[in-house]
Symmetry: C2
Subunit: 205 residues, 2 copies
């Protein structure tokens, strides 16, 4: 079995975590990539679960050491994905799932495009997204308005993704996600293809 | 549901038809594209099942009328895929499966790339392919040697395909094929994505 990367993007409130949870028994072993950030933990957030919370100093050292697959600054805080756990999971043949934004997707494509399948997950309409964000009431109005403005920008990038999942009915969206995740495992990198052709011609089995 | 195209290529003897048959109850409704040819039917071959058998004159008229999605000349005979049944099946939301060669895949990609997912199916090694071709004894030595020379050329094009399926154990290969076929249905064309974004912004549901 080969490792593979599945990048999920889409507005906060699209239901990405719910979909992954729903599908988790259909998609085999996977590693959900946890981002590293310098922003302080919010109430209820746990280190190593929601994020790896680190200081600015450590984050900047890691940047210099080339330890990030991708990183960005949002509202003066760093957010990034460490390369090491991703490489480990890939070498163990796991499916690595990323929940990152459109910009992060571009960076991962640029660095590891060979392994990447990507899906954009969104509620059916902007109205529906607004409704869900207000209904879950975990964010204040300013944060929600910010999320909506971001969503309006991100939807313009759907054509950069291999798949788009409209999360209307969660069971349907989860089953689509599982299909995509399982197909993503079957993608072969250029390196694997080269080996395959050599082995094929060589004829030994 | 959206129509989609799944192109299968790979050497004769790779087990493509067996794999499709095995997976047929897992992949929903599909239309298996039947090629048109000017070569005479072999013993046991049926018109409308194995091929549409037509005269050279009719084939050339159809070329002029732009009725082929792709066509080629092999050993002085024409082989081609008519556009009409493919378009009909797509408009009915069916998955259209093609069994065509590497060159045919390029032509279909060029004309309808938006809808296309592709998989190269092959036995694990060249040796194994030879064994299978001799074992099934439907072809004479010259034909088999020809198929093997073709296979050696075609394997060089695996990197043009989205997926490669090694048909070692047919149950495993069929299950991989079903996963790929089901994922291919979820691919959206540029036109569909455009509509999706407009609908999303518009907000009506």
């Amino acid at each position: 079995m080969n490792g593979a990367i599945l990048v999920l993007s889409g507005p906060s409130g699209a239901g990405k975590s719910t979909i992954i949870e729903h599908a988790s028994d259909q998609i085999g072993e996977y590693y959900f990539s946890i981002s590293t950030t310098t922003r302080p933990p919010r109430e209820g957030e746990l280190d190593g679960v929601d994020y790896y919370f680190v200081s600015r100093e450590i984050f900047e050292e890691d940047i210099k050491a080339g330890q990030f697959l991708e990183y960005a600054t949002v509202h003066n805080n760093y957010y990034g994905t460490s390369l090491k756990p991703v490489k480990e999971a890939l070498s163990e043949g796991k499916l690595v799932i990323f929940d990152i934004d459109v910009q992060g997707h571009r960076l991962v494509q640029a660095k590891m495009g060979d392994f990447v399948t990507s899906a954009f997950i969104t509620p059916p309409t902007l109205n529906e997204l607004e409704k869900r964000l207000y209904a879950r009431s975990t964010d204040n109005d300013t944060v929600i308005k910010n999320r909506i403005e971001n969503a309006k920008k991100e939807i313009q990038a759907v054509n950069e993704f291999d798949f788009v999942i409209i999360n209307d009915v969660v069971e349907i969206a989860s089953s689509k996600f599982a299909t995509i995740a399982n197909a993503s495992r079957l993608k072969k990198s250029a390196e694997e293809l080269e080996k395959l052709v050599i082995h094929w011609q060589d004829g030994s089995k």
